[in-house]
């Protein structure tokens, strides 16, 4: 372990051959699920991003294969039901999925085949992390990667509830939550994500967020020059921007890409549940419990006296029954 890995600026380079130390450390964490007051990291890593240029994707699924290969997952072999998605959905073993949509452009009457690589967006403001009740099960690094730490995960599925993009999947085998890691284990040693590296058309590219935005702007300009007037970047501000983002040829209508949310944000219901419900709920329960305990100890109890015991005897003996005389 002579050298620390550089922070990767591209997915294209080949790995160094000498042993190399990880450069994505526990101390680089900026947010931890169910944990307040995370210590401020000493250094700020360069923000990274993976850019998915939908207009360049040919739907070959090399990225899916690379992801399976790198993460050593074993997605189940499913039935062919006559659609291109394979598997049919994201699963605990399939962190990324090409989603295919046949869309008729109302302006040109052309059939367009929209292909979107789905997977974790690595939100700057991650709903999964906000919802998670288990300390340390989800972390966010200062370079923007949101990662699930499986040994702390309890399998409750709250991350599913919190995520605006319907990404995490809970394994039925080990009851832990899985999603794209942005290849944090590759980034840690100076490598770009496996999917980006495998992509034959460079529809997936990886680098610093800054570089990726610049590249995306070039791509948008190119698309516009070729008639895609609504081409644009999908880097949704509702979740603070994302570290996986898209170039879309129809950026005015994200939802035509198999339901990509138009304006994703952490649901107000989730905010209310994790926010005021918790603070107010805890306060009310605490006051009630302590109040009842103190009152129970100090207040005058409601006691039965000897006179009442005698009255009861009289009543029973006289058989003053059935609510008769009062």
């Amino acid at each position: 372990m002579s050298e620390t890995a550089p922070q990767p600026k591209t997915a294209a380079s080949n790995p160094p051959v000498q042993p190399i130390a990880s450069n994505l450390l526990p101390s680089d964490v900026v947010r931890i699920s169910a944990t307040k007051d995370v210590p401020q990291p000493e250094r700020q890593l360069t923000k990274v991003a993976k850019l998915i240029d939908v207009s360049k994707c040919i739907g070959c699924k090399a990225c899916q294969s690379a992801c399976i290969e790198w993460n050593d997952t074993k997605p189940e072999v499913e039935e062919n039901v006559g659609v291109y998605e394979n598997p049919h959905d994201l699963t605990p073993n399939m962190f990324t999925l090409m989603r295919f949509t046949e869309w008729v452009n109302p302006e040109t009457d052309n059939l367009e085949w929209l292909i979107r690589k789905d997977g974790c967006m690595h939100c700057e403001d991650p709903g999964c992390l906000k919802a998670c009740p288990a300390p340390g099960a989800i972390v966010q690094y200062s370079n923007g990667i949101v990662d699930f730490i499986h040994e702390n995960c309890i399998g409750c599925g709250y991350c599913v509830t919190g995520c605006p993009f319907d990404i995490p999947r809970i394994s039925k085998v080990d009851h832990k939550s899985y999603k794209c890691t942005l290849c944090s284990d590759r980034v840690a040693v100076g490598q770009g994500p496996a999917c980006a590296k495998a992509c034959p058309t460079q529809a997936i590219v990886f680098g610093t967020k800054e570089d990726m935005i610049a590249h995306a702007n070039d791509r948008v300009a190119d698309l516009k020059s070729r008639g895609y007037d609504n081409a644009g970047i999908y880097d949704p501000p509702g979740v603070g921007g994302t570290h996986v983002f898209y170039v879309l040829h129809h950026a005015d209508k994200p939802s035509i890409y198999d339901g990509l949310p138009d304006e994703p944000r952490i649901s107000p219901v989730v905010e209310g549940w994790k926010g005021v419900t918790k603070t107010a709920g805890l306060a009310v329960m605490g006051v009630a419990a302590v109040g009842a305990a103190i009152h129970g100890i100090f207040a005058r109890a409601n006691k039965v006296d000897a006179h009442e015991e005698q009255e009861a005897e009289k009543l029973v003996q006289s058989g003053d029954g059935d609510g008769g005389s009062v």
Partner: protein
């Protein structure tokens, strides 16, 4: 024989000198303890997910994963046990005109001036409130709980519905914990009540003070009732 108005057919005066009255038989007491214990276990495990500062409570269940799968299973046990209790108790928990009077004099209730209050059957309006409050909240908790039960019902409802369900579940949990505190507090404050759930009997004086119509009915039944 017509149903008694203020008591269960099985309630009876056990002895006269001093008076002791049987309020709950063995089965219902055992079942009540199942309800109580499961509610406490649910409250502890649920609160562990509710707030990070209470997450350590999962340790009592052998860790987060165990607490996560146990909680809903215990919830089903609670639901079944409570429903059995519901079938046994609902009739005498229906509201009566006396309840309104009792509630309008809640000040006397709190001060313990029971001589000013109307005579009551087996339950007062406070006890009825707890009964119906628990009933409604347990139904809300099981319905919303199933919707967020990832292990077996992960696909049952859409994610937006699931968000409402988890919010509802946590609000209902807070509410049932408040009702539970009130229930335990009232049972403790009203001295002589707890033995109704331990031994199953109360003293005559207790019945005379708090539930005199109930006592009267039992006394009348004892006089003319079927020979024992």
């Amino acid at each position: 024989m017509a149903r008694p108005l203020y008591s269960e057919p099985g309630d009876r005066i056990e002895s006269i000198h001093p008076v002791t009255v049987s309020r709950y038989r063995g089965f219902i007491r055992a079942n009540h303890w199942i309800t109580a214990i499961t509610l406490i276990l649910l409250l502890i495990s649920g609160l562990a997910f509710f707030h990070p500062s209470l997450y350590f409570l999962t340790g009592l269940f052998g860790g987060g994963q165990n607490a996560r799968w146990l909680h809903p299973v215990i919830g089903v046990v609670l639901f079944v046990s409570f429903m059995v209790m519901f079938i046994q108790l609902w009739r005498l928990n229906l509201p009566t005109p006396d309840d309104r009077k009792w509630l309008s004099q809640i000040g006397d209730v709190v001060k313990g001036n029971e001589e000013n209050l109307p005579e009551l059957g087996k339950y007062n309006a406070g006890q009825k409130f707890i009964f119906w409050g628990m009933t409604i909240l347990i139904v809300v908790l099981i319905v919303s709980g199933v919707m967020i039960w990832e292990q077996f019902f992960g696909e049952l409802v859409t994610i937006p519905t699931r968000r409402w369900a988890v919010l509802t579940h946590s609000l209902a949990a807070v509410a049932i914990i408040l009702v539970f505190i009130l229930h335990v507090y009232a049972a403790f404050w009203t001295r002589g009540t707890l033995r109704a759930m331990t031994r199953g009997t109360v003293t005559g004086g207790w019945a005379y003070r708090h539930h005199r119509k109930w006592l009267r009915e039992l006394a009348g039944r004892r006089q003319k009732g079927p020979a024992e």
